[in-house]
């Protein structure tokens, strides 16, 4: 490949010989007006818009966090050591996700599959922890309709949990594609797109864990 045609794997320009590019770097590609992958750009725009969604949910909880209608507040029944372990699990799933992408980029299908499965499993462990936490809250008398504070809390963490669940579905679909031999270097951008979503879910939890769980409610 000549100097004029040097491009990113997911990035192409009109000067690129798409066939050679695919052979050299293993990415299926096509020209775009920006020279960047439209799919990847769309995912970043989507993630930017997700900031507004979660920002709204977090702000709502912050505003209602002390409105318990005289009943137990969610903050009163937080189990910080347990949630810390959950947070750590989700954090480590970001590592396994990025290792999956790295393996797929190198053409190591088996390693890629293993890391994808590990990521999905860690996500499932996190979700299981969230279900356990919700159950414990209900046993303590903090249900979805108990108070504005509990409604805001369950809505926020529930929305995040749904995002994790969607991420697990996407990871498992990638895993199945890989098992069927349909995931390789040529379409590794798919793994990268799912990875971006997964890391975003992790970033949102980083925010929630600090702002909702660790910073004391006055």
């Amino acid at each position: 490949m000549s100097a004029e045609t040097a491009t990113a794997g997911s990035v192409t320009t009109s000067t690129v010989d798409a066939d050679n590019h695919g052979e050299d770097h293993g990415h299926a590609s096509h020209a775009t007006s920006t020279g960047l992958s439209n799919t990847k750009l769309a995912m970043w725009v989507f993630l930017g818009s997700e900031c507004l969604l979660f920002g709204g949910l977090i702000s709502t909880y912050l505003l209602y966090s002390t409105r318990g209608n005289g009943r137990t507040l969610p903050a009163d029944v937080f189990d910080i050591p347990f949630t810390s372990v959950s947070s750590f699990v989700l954090l480590m799933s970001s590592l396994t996700m990025v290792l999956a992408l790295s393996a797929v980029n190198r053409g190591e299908a088996e390693a890629g599959r293993a890391w994808l499965l590990a990521t999905a499993l860690l996500g499932a462990v996190f979700l299981g922890g969230q279900v356990y936490e919700f159950t414990a809250f209900v046993r303590e008398g903090v249900g979805f309709t108990t108070s504005p504070a509990s409604s805001a809390f369950f809505t926020l963490t529930g929305f995040h949990g749904v995002h994790v669940a969607i991420g697990i579905v996407m990871l498992m679909s990638l895993f199945i594609r890989s098992v069927n031999g349909n995931l390789n270097q040529r379409n590794s951008e798919t793994v990268e797109i799912v990875g971006l979503y997964w890391h975003f879910v992790d970033i949102v939890w980083i925010f929630i864990f600090t702002v909702i769980y660790l910073i004391p409610v006055n």
């Binding site: 490949m1 000549s2 100097a3 045609t5 040097a6 491009t7 990113a8 794997g9 997911s10 990035v11 192409t12 320009t13 050299d24 770097h25 020279g35 960047l36 990847k40 750009l41 970043w44 725009v45 993630l47 930017g48 900031c51 507004l52 979660f54 920002g55 709204g56 977090i58 702000s59 912050l62 505003l63 910080i80 050591p81 810390s84 947070s87 750590f88 954090l91 480590m92 970001s94 590592l95 990025v98 290792l99 992408l101 790295s102 980029n105 990268e192 990875g195 971006l196 890391h199 975003f200 992790d202 970033i203 980083i206 925010f207 864990f209 600090t210 702002v211 660790l214 910073i215 004391p216």
Partner: protein, 125 residues
């Protein structure tokens, strides 16, 4: 291919030999292969784990009373974790700046809108 690139990503000291260009200073498309080595990712994950441990440490006031430094410290650690995941795991450090701008626009808009909202409702009072 390698002769057409510059090893700008190598300034991390953790980049694979086959890693190529990362255009940090422009909107120009960057090299997808300019990703760090697996070991670099593990090191970032270890840093994240240590910061998380520090965050949890603040919860146990009987060990150390952080006083007025508690909230600023927690927010600082949260921002560092956020930055590490976004720049390393999401590759914003190595990808086109346009991706980062798209994300940052949404993020800053959200922060602006909701800080204003919280201020209007006297949350910070």
């Amino acid at each position: 291919m390698s002769d057409t690139t510059t090893p700008t990503a190598a300034n991390t000291g953790n980049v694979d030999e086959h890693a190529a260009t990362a255009s940090h200073e422009s909107d120009a498309p960057s090299e997808d292969h300019a990703h760090p080595s697996d070991w670099a990712y593990v090191k970032i994950a270890l840093a994240l784990a240590v910061i998380t441990a520090l965050e949890v440490f603040t919860y146990f006031e009987s060990v150390l009373d952080w006083g007025v430094a508690l909230v600023p410290s927690l927010i600082f650690m949260m921002i560092v974790k956020f930055y590490l995941v976004a720049t390393w795991f999401m590759h914003l450090r190595f990808d086109s700046k346009l991706f980062g701008r798209m994300f940052t626009t949404g993020l800053l808009l959200a922060v602006g809108v909701y800080v204003a909202t919280l201020t209007v409702f006297e949350f910070f009072a």
